[in-house]
Symmetry: C2
Subunit: 550 residues, 2 copies
C-alpha cells in the first residue's frame, strides 16, 4: 500500500536552493593570504551557481550526464561548481591535484571530462597534460595565474568571471531522479588503476543529513566550518553540502594549508569546527605549541583519513581545549562510515579509550566483520575481521567508463553486494569499531596477526618520536615480521633499545619488532596517508639503514 506522502526527489539542487534562500546570509569565506579574506554569501553563491550552469549549458554545450572536472583548491568558486554542476544534471568530477601527472590524465580520460575548471595557480599542473586529454573541449580558468602555458591548447580557454558575467541569476533546475549520478571521485588506490565512485543525488543528500546530526558533526547555522580536507577528497567529508543544508558558514583555506596560515585564519575568522587528516593537525598542533594563538573558537576538530595517534588527540584537548572527534570513512563510503562520540556515563580514561576508536556507525551504515574463513564474527570487542558495510551512501560498484559496464571486483564487493573495506578490526558490543590494520598491512607472524597500527600508536606516544610507520617484511622463520621505521623529534637522542623497552611495557613480547630504522619522514600518499608501499619497496631495495636488535 503506497503512502500518501509527496514524492519529492532528494537532489543537490534542493540543497543549493535551500542554502541560498533560507540561509542566504551565511557566507563562504575564502582565505587569500592577504589582510582581507574573500567573502561571498550563500545567496550570491546561489546566483553564481545558476550563472555557471547557464554558461556550461548555453555556451559550452554541456549536456545532462556529461562530466565537468574541477582542478581547484577549496574556495568559493569551487563551491559554486560543487552545487551548480550537479544541479543542472551534469556530473561534477573533482580532480586530485596531488596525483602524479599520468594518473591525473588517466582519470580525466576515463571520465571523459568535457570541461575542466582550473584555478589559475594550478595551470602548471594541467597545461602539460592537455595534449593527452582529447575529450577536454574547454578549460575554464578561475582566478589569477599565468595563462601562457595554455596558449597552444587544443581546448578553448575561458575566464571564469567573463564566462559568468551578465548571465541570468536563476536557472530552472531540472527535476532529476535522485539515483542519478551527481559527482565522481576516483580512489587514489595504492594498487592498480584508480577506480571511480559515482555519488548519486540521493547519496549526497542523505550523507549531508547525517553529517548534520548530533551523533556526527552537528553543523548548525551558528557554526563556521573549516574544511582543510580538500574538496577533491571524498566530498570534503560532506562538509560543503552539509553546510549549505544547515546554514553553517564555510571558511575555505584555498592553497594556504601550512600550519602558520591555518593558525592565523582560525584566530581571525573563528571557525567552530575543522576537518583534516592527522598530518595536517599534527602540523597545526606543533605550530600552536610553539606560538600561542587564540583558537578556542574551535569546539570540534574532526580527524579522519587515517588512524589518529592518541597523543595528537590529547595534545589538542589538554593543551588547547579543542575536542578531537575521530571519524572513519573512505571514498567508497561518501565518506562517513563511523564517528567516535564516547557514550554517556564513562570516566575520563574510558572516554579517552572510546575516543581512540573509529567510533559508531550511523543508522544508514550497516556493518559486519568477516573472519579469515568467510564467517561473520561477533561484536565482542575481540574477534578481528575484515569490515564490510552496506547502505544508501556506500558504493556498490565502480564506474566502468562511458561505454563500460559497472565494475564489481570480487576483492571489493561481496557476492551479496556489501562493500569490502579492506580494513581489519573489532567491534564492541556497544557498536564501537576499532580498526587495527589494512587487511594487506596486517603482519602475519607465525599464524598470528600483529597490528602495525597498534605498534605505531605506542611508538608515537613516545616523546622522542614524531612519526612511526610499521610494515610487514619477509622473515624466513615467521613468514612475516614487523619493521619499525621512526621519525625522531628535533633533538631526540633516543636509541632503538630504549624504544623497544618502551614498547615492551605495552605489548606482548612476541610482537616486538627486531628490525628498526630511523627515516627523515614517513612517505605519504597524495592525500597525506602513510604510504607503506614505498617503505616496503625501500626495504626490499636495501635503501633503508636497518638495525637488527637481537
Amino acid at each position: 500500500m503506497l503512502s500518501t506522502m509527496q514524492d519529492v526527489p532528494l537532489t543537490v539542487s534542493r540543497i543549493l536552493t535551500h542554502g541560498s534562500t533560507v540561509h542566504g546570509k551565511a557566507q563562504v569565506i575564502t582565505w587569500t593570504g592577504e589582510a582581507e579574506p574573500h567573502r561571498r554569501t550563500f545567496a550570491e553563491i546561489g546566483r553564481r551557481a545558476a550563472q555557471l550552469a547557464h554558461a556550461l549549458h548555453d555556451t559550452l554545450g554541456v549536456a545532462a550526464e556529461e562530466r565537468v572536472g574541477t582542478l581547484m583548491w577549496n574556495n568559493s568558486e569551487h563551491m559554486e561548481a560543487y552545487l551548480g554542476i550537479p544541479s543542472m544534471g551534469a556530473v561534477l568530477h573533482t580532480l586530485n591535484l596531488r596525483l602524479p601527472a599520468e594518473q591525473l590524465a588517466w582519470i580525466i580520460n576515463h571520465a571523459e571530462d568535457r570541461v575542466v575548471l582550473v584555478n589559475g595557480t594550478l595551470i602548471p599542473l594541467l597545461a602539460p597534460l592537455l595534449p593527452q586529454l582529447p575529450t577536454v573541449a574547454h578549460v575554464v580558468v578561475v582566478g589569477p595565474g599565468d595563462r601562457t602555458p595554455l596558449a597552444d591548447a587544443h581546448a578553448q580557454v575561458h575566464d571564469y568571471e567573463e564566462l559568468l558575467a551578465g548571465r541570468a541569476e536563476r536557472y530552472d533546475w531540472p527535476e532529476i531522479d535522485e539515483r542519478e549520478a551527481a559527482a565522481l571521485c576516483y580512489t587514489s588506490g595504492t594498487t592498480g588503476e584508480p577506480k571511480g565512485v559515482l555519488y548519486s543525488h540521493r547519496s549526497l543528500y542523505l550523507h549531508s543529513l547525517q553529517v548534520n546530526t548530533a551523533e556526527a558533526f552537528a553543523l548548525g547555522s551558528r557554526d563556521i566550518a573549516l574544511p582543510v580536507v580538500p574538496m577533491f577528497h571524498v566530498n570534503a567529508w560532506g562538509l560543503p553540502h552539509a553546510a549549505f543544508m544547515a546554514g553553517a558558514s564555510l571558511l575555505m583555506p584555498d592553497r594556504f594549508l601550512q600550519p602558520a596560515p591555518l593558525a592565523e585564519m582560525i584566530e581571525t575568522i573563528r571557525p567552530t569546527i575543522g576537518a583534516a587528516v592527522p598530518t595536517i593537525w599534527q602540523g597545526l598542533l606543533a605550530e600552536l605549541d610553539a606560538h600561542k594563538r587564540d583558537v578556542a573558537c574551535l569546539h570540534t576538530v574532526v580527524i579522519g583519513g587515517s588512524a589518529c595517534p592518541p597523543a595528537l588527540m590529547r595534545g589538542f584537548q589538554e593543551r588547547h581545549g579543542i575536542r578531537v572527534v575521530h571519524a572513519w570513512g573512505m571514498t567508497e563510503t561518501s565518506p562517513l562510515g563511523c564517528v567516535s562520540h564516547p557514550p554517556a556515563g564513562v570516566d575520563d580514561e574510558e572516554e579517552w579509550a572510546y575516543r581512540a576508536t573509529q567510533g559508531r556507525f550511523p543508522a544508514s551504515v550497516e556493518a559486519r566483520l568477516i573472519g579469515p574463513a568467510g564467517e561473520e564474527l561477533p561484536w565482542d570487542g575481540t574477534a578481528a575481521g575484515e569490515l564490510e558495510v552496506r547502505g544508501p551512501w556506500i558504493a556498490g560498484a565502480y564506474y566502468g567508463g562511458a561505454q563500460g559496464a559497472l565494475l564489481r571486483p570480487e576483492d571489493k564487493f561481496s557476492p551479496d553486494g556489501w562493500l569490502r573495506t579492506g580494513d581489519v578490526g573489532t567491534i564492541t558490543p556497544d557498536g564501537y569499531l576499532t580498526l587495527t590494520d589494512r587487511a594487506k598491512d596486517v603482519i602475519k607472524s607465525g599464524g598470528e596477526w600483529i597490528s602495525s597500527v597498534e605498534l605505531e600508536n605506542h611508538l608515537m606516544a613516545h616523546p622522542g618520536v614524531a612519526e612511526a610507520a610499521v610494515v610487514a617484511v619477509p622473515d624466513e622463520k615467521w613468514g612475516e615480521r614487523p619493521l619499525a621505521t621512526v621519525v625522531l623529534t628535533d633533538g631526540s637522542a633516543i636509541t632503538y633499545e630504549e624504544l623497544r623497552a618502551f614498547l615492551g611495557e605495552r605489548i606482548a613480547r612476541w610482537q616486538l619488532p627486531e628490525r628498526w630504522a630511523v627515516i627523515p619522514s614517513v612517505p605519504k600518499t597524495s592525500v597525506g596517508k602513510f604510504d607503506k608501499k614505498v617503505l616496503r619497496r625501500q626495504y626490499a631495495d636495501g635503501e633503508l639503514d636497518v638495525t637488527l636488535l637481537s
Copy 2:
C-alpha cells in the same frame, strides 16, 4: 547516468535494527507512578518487537499492508509496536485516545484495523465501541486493567505478554519499498470527517534524520528524550524513531501527564530534552514556580502544536534556566515543518523575537506564501499569506480507505501538489516563519485582517490573565470583529477596561476588541489546542456572558 551507489531502501526496520544493536544499551524508561520506573534496553525492545511481529504474523495472521491499531499511552510496549509493526510490513495505526467515541469508531472502521493493541487502563474506552468495529478480529491487552468489559466481544482477546512469550527473538524483516505505507495517523480535524495521513518508511526515515540534526532537536546518544506529546499525535513529533536512530534513551510518561508527576519524573530520571504542547508546559511551569524542583537537566524544551505564548518561553528560561525551542508542524507534515533557532550574532532582545517565530524550514521542506488572489508573496517579513509546503515528508493526499482512491481536496492541496497548510503568516528574508492565524480564524474586519493570535499573546502576557482566546464574531458594520475571552489567574481582579488599555499600548486602536467575556477555561480539542469552534458556537448560542465596551 545511474550512480554506483548501493540501492538500500530507507525503512523502519533499519532504524529498529540499528538502535537495538549499535545502541542496544540505551533504554526506554516508562514512568509507573511507583518508586521504580520500568526500564527496557533498546536491545530488549528489538527482541520484543520481533516477538510481537511473530505473534501478529504467525498467530493472528496479520498480512503485509494490514492495519494494526494502538490505543496506548507512551510506554515501552507502544515503542515495540511502533517499530515492530511497520518493520514486518504492516501499518501502524495510532489511535487518539482523546477523541470522542464516535470519531474513534469512525477512524478504526475507515482504516479497517484488524488488530487493536490497547493498554489495560484504556479498556473502558475501547470495549463499548467494539460492537461497532466489525474489522477488529483481535484485541491485545497490554498491561494491567479490568478485562471484564471485553468478555462479550466478538473479537478474540489476548494478553500481550502471553502472546509474546517464547517466540523467536529475531524476525527476518522483509525488504520493503521505502515508499510503502508504514504508519497511519488521522487528523483530529475541527471540521468534516477525520482525514488519514499514511506515512511512508521513507518519510519517517528522512524525518528522523532531520530531527537529529543540530538545526532541529539534535538528539544524540548522551540524551534522554521525554516525549510528553503522545505517540498517537503525529509520530510524537518524530522523537521515538529519532531516538532509536541516534541512540538517545527515552523517558515515557505513560498516563502521568499532570504537572506534579511530570516534575517528579524530570527530577528523578533527568531527561535532557522534552516535547509537549503549550498547555502541558504551562502547567509544568506553574508547578515549578510553586514547588522548587531541580530540572536543570533539561537543556531543551520543544514547544509545538499551537503558537507558544512568549511569556511561557521567558518563564522557563528566566526562572528555570531551560531553553525553549519553538517548532511548527501538523499531521500532514510528519510534523517537522519549522524549528526556531535564532541566528548567530543577535542581541538578547532580537534573540527573543526570533525565538517567538515558528522558525526556519529544514532543507527538505520547501515553502511559499500565497496571497488572497493566489499570487506568491515575497519573503519580506511583512506580506502575509497562506503557507504552502512541499517535501518528502509532507502529505500529498489523504487515505481514501482500503477500496477508495487517494483524496486530494482542493482546499488542502494546490493544483501543483503543494500542501495548503491553512496557516497564515509571514516569512522574513532570512527564512523565519511567523504564523499569525489559521486562515479560517483570521478576523476580517472592514477589508483588513486582525490576527487573533497576536491579541491572545498580548493578553496572556498580562499577569492577571491565565489564558486568552480571541475569535471572530459577526458584526453588522465591519463584517467581523474580535471577541476576547479570558481566563483570569487565581485572585485576579482585573477589569475589561484595564485589559483593553493594556492592549491599547501594544496594538493599533482599530484592532481593539469591543466584546469581552471571562470564561472558566478555554475549550480544548482532543490534542490540547484551543477549540475556537466551540467558543464561536457558545457566542452564537448566547452562552457567554459578553460585555460590550463602548
